[in-house]
């Protein structure tokens, strides 16, 4: 590839590329086993999966590129995959191809080969192809493309050994010349002109394969043009761009269509030729409706589709949180007990009280706060991977799209929004199923507005104390308010920050498949362990910080007015005056509520000196509250700053402190405005 020979490091790299739903992850798992880790590509929300393959005593670095149909500049995923192959130059690229859908999959293959990647093809899902009477001749395909083609059935580990052997073999061989598709006399003429200019410009020639670059310039690839513009200090760079512009105009006029379409058409023409040569299909056996179509006729039915989806979602929701609750409680109790025991032991050793309290509430409390999220996250991702791997998730998105569309959201956004009613942490992690960045960012940002279960005890405490006749309506109104604000904010953010990025709704409905235990378990483990590692540290740090604020200076009563936390509460209290709850106790409760929203109840019990079980008595007797100010406070509790676990997971999923800070800031401002509005308007209307 050009004149630069990258110094080959000790460990050689294998990259996996392929369309979505072709079993790429399955092959990745087969290659790396448990030796894998998930991170993010720098600066973007896209997940980066890496792992190690050990073969005949040597270690290889395996990287799973995002699943893409193409390598253009239109999505983050594609740019990542393309730049990795172009600039990081993996030693070999395993292109995973769906044998039942060869023509479309080969599009990516030709793009990879045109870039000059060192490709080995895994012709996956051969069993399904056979079932459908599609007969592919791997040897012929290999001959035509000039690359090794290995038939595989990744779900049953078939062909993997051969694939590894071929990939390793290929690494030792010299890099092949890029594939040359004949684009016809007119286009070829312009390619030649551009290539000539490129060859004369070392800075560019060293960076890109020249024919590939010429093609991209003719296609008008935004990203590549931007990249060349950045090298404008070179006179030739400008010349290249001018020539590209000229060639594009010339071809459009000559051939009556834009060059991009012409080039893509030619590429498909080349692929159609390949398919004719390498594929035989036994005639007359294809049935009009496949099993998938029959299932689809029911689950995407115009009236049945929605109820079926809602029932499926309700089942996931119920199973996740019902099963998780006792487990989480058990973990919390176990850690509470461990904390008590160690504190008791420390006290018996004569350690100062403050140290014992730190170990009990700070350390064990903090670790416990992380661990309670483990059961719901593991369970949720277990069910989500079942839905995804089986192919049903795509149908759910299809069914929900008509409704979510009217909210300016993608059909797949529904799942995270619904899960938000259980807990925002796994809900935000579930946004990973959204492929489009702006859809995903919006869904993450508005998710905290969905009332999670931790907020319910706070709602109930105030609603039962001040609205004993209308508890249900008051609580319901808060859920509804959250939903309305989420829709409103979603629209606002789309208009403000993610304009022009509206993703058209096109998605593949993959055939239904039986999910494999291995892939479901790996998926579940990835999510769970990533949460502990990435979000856990932030949660722990904040729990310890708040513990310190509530217990210092030494000797104060927990969260009393004299503690630093109490003093902080007094500072903030006047801010809440317009919302009707301008006393330090409320402010302190809101601060500890950032730890976990349910902590508001316990804190109010503590600051009124009555304990958690009698918090309602303390609230009533303090004389601080009226029904109206209580409602305003609940609205604040609903909206203001997400809990620390949610903040941590927003940070992890957006991969950006800026957006995390934004989520914290906008919820705080929105909460304050809404609470003040409700209190003030309520008073004008004569409520108290």
């Amino acid at each position: 590839m050009g004149a630069t020979v990258k110094s080959r490091p000790e460990i050689q790299t294998i990259a996996l590329a392929g369309n979505l739903n072709v079993g790429k992850t399955c092959i990745f798992n087969a290659l790396t086993g448990a030796r894998q880790y998930v991170g993010n590509w720098p600066g973007v929300t896209v997940e980066k999966k890496e792992g190690r393959l050990i073969h005949e005593g040597r270690t290889y670095h395996v990287i799973d590129l995002p699943g893409t149909y193409s390598l253009s500049a239109y999505s983050e995923d594609e740019v990542i995959a393309r730049n990795y192959i172009l600039f990081d130059k993996p030693h070999v690229v395993i292109n995973v191809v769906d044998a039942t859908n060869l023509e479309r999959n080969l599009y990516l293959t030709t793009l990879l080969l045109e870039m000059g990647a060192n490709v080995v093809m895994a012709l996956n899902m051969m069993d399904e192809a056979q079932q459908r009477n599609i007969e592919i001749d791997p040897n012929r395909l290999s001959q035509l493309l000039g690359i090794p083609v290995v038939p595989t059935v990744a779900t049953r580990n078939q062909g993997i050994k051969e694939l590894i052997a071929r990939a390793v073999e290929r690494m030792a061989a010299p890099s092949p010349a890029p594939l040359k598709i004949d684009y016809g006399k007119d286009i070829e003429g312009e390619i030649e002109k551009l290539q000539e200019l490129i060859e004369k410009t070392p800075v560019i020639k060293d960076r890109y394969p020249s024919r590939w670059l010429a093609l991209k310039l003719l296609e008008g690839d935004r990203r590549v043009i931007e990249e060349i513009k950045e090298i404008k200090w070179d006179k030739n760079a400008e010349k290249i761009l001018i020539q590209a512009e000229e060639s594009r105009r010339y071809l459009s006029e000559l051939l009556g269509d834009d060059p991009e379409t012409l080039i893509v058409d030619r590429r498909y023409g080349f692929i159609a030729g390949l398919v004719r040569e390498a594929v035989k299909k036994k005639p007359g056996v294809e049935k009009r409706l496949t099993l998938s179509d029959k299932i689809d006729a029911i689950v995407t039915h115009r009236y049945l589709g929605l109820p079926i989806f809602l029932v499926a979602m309700w089942a996931v929701f119920e199973l996740t949180f019902r099963l998780a609750e006792p487990l989480s409680e058990w973990l919390e109790e176990a850690f509470g007990w461990l904390g008590e025991a160690s504190a008791g032991w420390l006290a018996s050793m004569g350690a100062p009280e403050i140290l014992a309290s730190f170990v009990k509430d700070g350390l064990f409390g903090g670790v416990g706060a992380v661990l309670v999220f483990i059961p719901p996250i593991f369970l949720l991702f277990f069910f989500i991977s079942l839905l995804e791997d089986s192919g049903y998730m795509a149908r759910g998105a299809y069914v929900m799209d008509r409704i979510m569309h009217s909210f300016g959201l993608h059909g797949k956004s529904f799942i995270p929004m619904l899960l938000g009613f259980g807990c925002n942490v796994p809900a935000i992690m579930a946004t990973r199923t959204l492929e489009n960045r702006s859809d995903r960012m919006i869904t993450i940002l508005i998710n905290p507005l969905m009332s999670c279960m931790a907020r319910l005890p706070v709602y109930l405490l105030f609603a039962m104390t001040f609205f004993p006749e209308h508890t249900g309506i008051v609580v319901f109104s808060l859920y509804l308010l959250g939903i309305l604000l989420a829709i409103l904010m979603g629209r606002l953010f789309r208009a403000l920050f993610f304009k022009g990025e509206v993703a058209p709704f096109v998605m593949e409905l993959p055939p239904y498949r039986m999910p494999t235990a291995k892939s479901v378990l790996i998926h579940m483990w990835d999510r769970g362990s990533a949460f502990i590692r990435k979000a856990g540290t932030i949660i722990l740090a904040v729990v310890i910080l708040v513990w310190a604020l509530a217990n210092l200076p030494v000797g104060v009563e927990y969260a009393s007015e004299e503690s630093w936390l109490g003093q902080l509460g007094s500072v903030f209290a006047p801010l809440f005056q317009p919302a009707g709850f301008g006393h330090w106790q409320a402010a302190v409760a809101l601060i500890t509520g950032i730890l976990a929203k349910e902590a508001v109840v316990g804190t109010l019990g503590a600051v009124y000196g009555v304990g958690e079980e009698k918090a309602h008595v303390g609230i009533l007797e303090s004389g601080h509250w009226t029904p109206l100010s209580a409602y305003a406070f609940l609205v604040m509790t609903l909206i203001y700053i997400p809990c620390v676990a949610t903040i941590a997971v927003i940070r992890r999923e957006t991969n950006s402190w800026k957006w995390t800070a934004f989520a914290v800031a906008y919820t705080l401002v929105l909460g304050w405005i809404t609470a003040v509005l409700i209190y003030q308007v309520g008073r004008l209307l004569g409520f108290s």
Binding site: S70, E103, Y398, D401, P504
Partner: protein, 92 residues
């Protein structure tokens, strides 16, 4: 010759031939990536009159199902044809 209509109005059970894709590069690119190029033949599996459509895309070899949003379907001009017997997916 059958009339050219937006895909949005294509009837379920019919085949369509893609004639033109209006709209920006982004949309066109996404469609071509998925194999919806000019001249491609597809079978309308489902069109409820609201919500996305489902197409079976033919490549002469195998089938895949695509869900396409209404907004997008509005921008794709097609010609309706009677489906060819024997296979859902046959190319011209």
């Amino acid at each position: 010759m059958a009339a050219v209509v937006p895909l949005e109005f294509a009837r379920p059970g019919k085949d369509v031939i893609i004639k033109e894709v209006a709209g920006g590069m982004g949309i066109r690119r996404r469609l071509t990536d998925l194999g919806l190029v000019k001249g491609a033949r597809a079978h309308v599996v489902r069109n409820d009159g609201f919500g996305p459509l489902i197409l079976a895309l033919g490549d002469g070899v195998s089938c895949c199902r695509l869900a396409i949003g209404r907004g997008m379907a509005h921008k794709i001009m097609v010609e309706e044809r009677e489906p060819v017997d024997g296979s859902l997916c046959s190319s011209e």
